[in-house]
């Protein structure tokens, strides 16, 4: 079972985390094919992927950049980097 070496709470087993998937940004005002591709397609090729992970015991969110070929976490992403504005 994988262990994440969290910068805040130290090494924790993956069973404490929920995997939410790739970090994505909805394409606002997209045409139909673009929107459909966003909703239904996921980046599946092995390589670097930014992923949402939720640590249930603490309710804390992490974005990790993971090499999905080697299953290695390359770095933890500053959450500021994944922010986007929604139309209000």
């Amino acid at each position: 079972m994988k262990v994440f070496d969290c910068p805040v709470i130290g090494p924790r087993p993956i069973s404490e985390f929920d995997y939410i998937g790739e970090v994505r940004r909805p394409p606002m005002d997209a045409d139909e094919p673009t929107w459909a591709a966003y909703v239904f397609n996921r980046q599946g090729a092995p390589g670097l992927l930014r992923e949402w992970w939720y640590h249930r015991p603490t309710g804390r969110w992490y974005v990790m950049e993971r090499d999905t070929l080697k299953d290695e976490v390359v770095r933890f992403i500053d959450l500021e980097e994944v922010r986007y504005d929604i139309p209000a």
Binding site: M1, K2, V3, W35, V39, R83, Y84
Partner: protein, 969 residues
């Protein structure tokens, strides 16, 4: 007569304790410390089992947990591995795979028919004619599989424990002990695990009589057992390697989930059989198997032995047999004896005949070895002109080794064939994985100790993040210990490559010729390596055969995947203790005391209804009527309850829910519908405005955690100033519903309940029965109703007060079933029951909850904008015809239109208010848009008509929800 030897120096036996047991109805005895097989062999019971397919006689081969033809059956347990399972007093055992008795197995006839059962015959034979297949299936199921399970088993559970260490060393032989010591000396916290009940590994059986090994063995064992940094775990099987060095160790008390920072595999090698005719007769054994039998169990394996060898170990085994009083008729060396070292010299000095350049062509005997046919061997075939027979009841095979590299493979190591050693060896090991010992090609004791030290040093440097020593010692041997082709063909076959599945040499050759010439294909077609031992003594020869047939190298041929577990692990150990958390509401005990039948709802237990199981229907009916005409009280504590606070609280909810939440007026609530990005409904609840910067949101029982999670992620990704508190567990909730609700509550609360001050969908904070509460005017069940949210500490007090004071209005507690009927009469959906993983709000009849024009954005909005005009189905109401008395449709029964599926029933119940069966169905277009009758196919296959009708079924104008109590008083 017994084959038990005088006490051996390292034997595992406790001769002070004699154990009696039964096998095949006969009485036997053994000693404490015996395995089942060793006790039987000590009593000269050499026939231990029957083979899987041909029911051939089989005996002991390895004594190392690979003897899968010596499986035993007790009344409680099937497939007991006799070679490693400790003997226990009073055991009553039979052989596993026999038709009749072990001695007179009626299925031996199958062996005679073997030429009509070629490789792959299962796939070729039984599928036609098709109508005969059920008959064949019964026959195959009867013949296939081993052992009998007692389905009235008692659950025996073993708790799992968690272990942690710096370094896990698997295998406590010479190199493993040395590696553990070296690392422990560097200050590391080391666990040394071995599947055997005693440490020592091959030092204790292969080198048991080697004088030079004795002081090393004593010193190593003493040092590892007394070292403060080493925890020695004998009797612990490393089941498999999992990510980040997580290795479950199966021990006598259950599984220890060991988390290490690095792993050394010192798991050694597994001896491989030679392939010749009748190489499966009882009396034909691995040399190491015979050595185990002597050293561990003090059992003399036979009277007169032939030793077939291709390495120095065979000579060591011959010496050990002599020491055990076995006459050694001949050593048959497939190569030259002069390269076999000091053991060969020692043997020759004892005047044992050595036949160089010879192989065993055939073993003879009926149920037991009688003669061995040997002949000159040129590396690929025997010269039969010079063949001769030697009388023997024991034939030892010492022709090669395969690495026990399963853990290395699982960790992602690369291994490659080494043509010097004629063995597969580790080439590249992943980070934190190390290998040493015979697994790594170190064969002499000196090499093994040096290799253990090297691995321990490297592991310590890795764990301390220090550079590796510049000088890399190569501890690998330069002599081959395996024969590249220990295989002899025979026109009459029965030369087995795989004992588990009775696969002969020709079966693999034929599989390759039929085109299954990829190792993974060959495995699946021929089933080589798929039996209980998982190819531990079949895969290496299988690969050699396939490489030869296809003209490829061993590396080009490849190897099959080595999946966990290494040995079978009992399900009771994997299951551990049952751990399934059940969440109980504050009123749980009251529900039980008042006759509630509880049901699971997500992780929660909720009252289904109150009353006896036999009176289920009447009980639900009474509860429904109480709500409609008097008062009902339901525990809804299981709802998700989330506090949303902060300046951006409204913005968060606007983005996360379909409808606008930021403009809810103070002290009002709004239906909260959540969809995902594809527009599918995932949750619903209500959102209440508590203050300008504060909302209180409810969620469905089973989706509460996910909703909390989604909201918390949106805070992060939208950069909002919001705090969330999940109050699901700390707040209780109950719904007081019925026309008398206001009348009951008014004298108990300081909140003004008047319609003007507290209208439908209103929200108020105040006191009830003297404790702080939140009240919400809700309408889920379709009557005047107040949802009361309050801290769990005061919930029972309020519940009791309402039940007591409500008695005059005929108050009843009601459960989930009554609530389902009540809401169905109102046409309210339950997310997950009336919707599925594809249902959008338009299909669920809720276009009013999707403000496409007035809201610029919410999760799923672009999808819903596209879906609005493209709905392929719609949720519709229906009733069964008046007076219908036939078979009742059920939820999930299919609607049929012109012979095609046209939808399904999502909810159906008897409505006491209407006196008819009503329901909801997800109906495909165009049927949904028509006013035709629906037809539903019930269990019997009959079609039952349904009358489409408008929703809600009851009180369409919603007058009941604002009912003035004076009117009903």
């Amino acid at each position: 007569m017994t084959s038990r030897l005088d006490p051996q120096p390292l034997e595992w036996l406790d001769r002070s304790e004699t154990l009696s047991f039964e096998f095949e109805g006969l009485a036997f005895t053994g000693f404490a410390g015996d395995s089942i097989s060793s006790a039987l062999l000590a009593s000269n019971q050499t026939l231990l089992g029957r083979s899987f397919k041909y029911h051939r006689p089989r005996g002991a081969v390895t004594l190392a947990n690979h003897d899968v033809n010596a499986l035993f059956q007790s009344s409680e347990e099937p497939n007991i591995r006799g070679d490693v399972t400790p003997l226990a007093a009073g055991m009553s055992l039979t052989a596993c795979n026999v038709n009749g008795s072990l001695e007179k197995d009626k299925d031996q006839i199958i062996g005679k028919l073997s030429r009509f059962l070629p490789v792959g015959f299962y796939y070729k034979s039984f599928h036609k004619p098709k109508k005969l297949f059920p008959m064949w299936e019964r026959v195959i199921r009867e013949k296939a599989g081993l052992g009998t399970i007692d389905t009235r088993w008692d659950a025996r559970r073993k708790a799992k424990t968690y272990g942690f260490c710096d370094l896990l060393v698997v295998g406590a032989g010479a190199s493993g002990m040395q590696a553990a010591l070296t690392a422990a000396e560097q200050g590391l916290d080391v666990v040394l695990a071995d599947e055997n009940p005693h440490i020592g590994g091959s030092l204790d059986y292969q080198l048991a009589n080697d004088d030079s090994a004795a002081p090393i063995r004593t010193a190593l064992k003493q040092k590892v057992q007394s070292h403060a940094n080493i925890r020695v775990l004998p009797g612990h099987l490393a089941c498999g390697w999992y990510t980040d060095h997580y290795v479950p160790l199966l021990g006598p008390e259950g599984i220890v989930k060991m988390r290490a920072r690095a792993v050394i595999s010192a798991t050694g090698v597994m001896e491989q059989p030679a392939v010749f005719r009748n190489n499966d007769l009882p009396g034909v054994m691995m040399a190491s198997g015979a050595q185990r039998l002597v050293a561990r169990y003090a059992v003399k394996p036979g009277q007169r032995a032939v030793v077939l060898t291709a390495n120095s170990e065979g000579y060591r085994a011959a010496l050990d047999m002599l020491a055990a009083g076995v006459e050694v008729a001949a050593v048959v060396d497939m190569g030259k004896a002069d390269s076999r070292g000091r053991w060969a010299d020692e043997l020759k000095s004892k005047n044992v005949s050595v036949l160089e350049g010879h192989a065993v062509y055939e073993a003879k005997g009926k149920d037991k070895l009688k003669q061995v046919v040997v002949a000159p061997f040129d590396g690929s075939a025997c010269n039969l002109k010079l063949a001769r027979e030697i009388d023997a009841d024991l034939l030892l095979m010492s022709v090669g080794w395969a690495p026990a590299a399963q853990l290395l493979y699982q960790a992602g190591s690369r291994l490659a064939y080494d043509s010097t050693l004629e063995q597969i060896l580790p080439q590249e090991l992943p980070s934190g994985i190390f290998a040493c010992g015979r697994l790594n090609g170190a064969f002499t004791l000196d090499q093994r100790l040096a290799d253990g030290e090297r691995a321990g040093t490297e592991a310590a440097a890795f764990l301390k993040d220090q550079p590796l020593p510049a000088e890399q010692t190569d501890c690998r041997d330069t002599e081959a210990h395996s024969h590249p082709w220990p295989i002899v063909d025979h026109p009459k076959g029965k030369n087995f490559v795989d004992y588990d599945e009775d696969l002969q040499l020709k079966d693999l050759v034929n599989a390759a010729k039929e085109g299954f010439d990829n190792i993974e294909l060959m495995k699946r077609f021929s089933t080589v390596g798929m039996g209980p031992s998982q190819g531990k003594h079949a895969n290496m020869n299988g690969i050699r055969v396939l490489a030869a047939v296809t003209g490829r190298t061993i590396d080009q041929t490849g190897s099959t995947t080595a999946r966990p577990m290494f040995h079978p692990v009992p399900v009771q150990a994997l299951a551990g203790r049952r751990f399934r958390a059940e969440r109980l509401t504050a009123m749980h005990q009251w529900h039980l005391d008042n006759g509630a039948q509880m049901m699971e709802a997500g992780a929660w237990l909720r009252p289904e209804f109150y009353g006896r199981q036999e009176e289920r229907a009447q009980a639900i009916l009474r509860e429904v009527q109480a709500v409609r005409t008097g008062l009902g009280l339901i525990d809804v504590s299981t709802l998700g309850k989330i506090e949303v606070m902060g300046p951006d609280a409204g913005k968060l909810l606007d983005g996360a829910y379909t409808m606008r939440m930021s403009n809810i007026k103070q002290d009002m609530t709004r239906y909260a519908l959540m969809v995902d990005e594809s527009g599918v409904i995932v949750d619903d609840g209500i959102a209440a405005r508590v203050a300008e910067d504060r909302f209180y949101v409810s969620a469905t029982t089973s989706h509460a955690d996910a909703t909390f999670r989604t909201l918390s992620r949106h805070i992060v990704e939208w950069g909002l100033d919001v705090r969330l508190v999940n109050r699901t567990g700390t707040l209780a909730a109950m719904n007081l519903a019925g026309p008398h609700a206001r009348k009951l509550l008014a004298p108990l609360t300081d909140i003004d309940l008047s319609e003007e001050n507290f209208p439908y969908l209103g929200f108020k904070e105040g006191n009830l029965c003297g404790v702080p509460v939140r009240l919400i005017r809700v309408g889920f069940v379709g009557e005047l109703g107040y949802e009361i949210h309050l801290p769990i500490e005061s919930a029972q007090l309020v519940w009791n007060t309402l039940m007591n004071k409500g008695a005059e209005y005929g108050i009843r507690p009601f459960g989930v079933e009554a609530q389902r009927v009540l809401r169905l009469e109102k046409g309210h959906i339950i997310v997950g029951q009336d919707t599925d993983g594809l249902t959008n709000p338009f299909e669920a009849n809720m276009p009013w909850a999707v403000p496409l024009k007035s809201k610029p954005w919410f999760t799923g909005k672009p999808s819903l904008a596209l879906l609005k005009e493209r709905c392929q189905r719609t949720l519709r109401g229906f009733m069964l015809p008046k007076g219908y008395s036939g078979e009742l449709p059920k939820e999930c029964h299919l609607l049929i239109d012109s012979g095609d599926i046209a939808g399904r029933i999502t909810s159906i119940a008897y409505s006491p208010s209407l006196g008819r069966y009503i329901g909801l169905a997800m109906v495909d277009q165009p049927l949904a848009g028509s006013d035709r009758m629906y037809q539903v196919r019930v269990d019997s296959g009959a079609l039952v008509p349904l009358e489409p009708c408008a929703i809600p079924f009851y009180d369409a104008e919603g007058e009941r929800q604002t009912i003035d109590l004076t009117e009903v008083a």
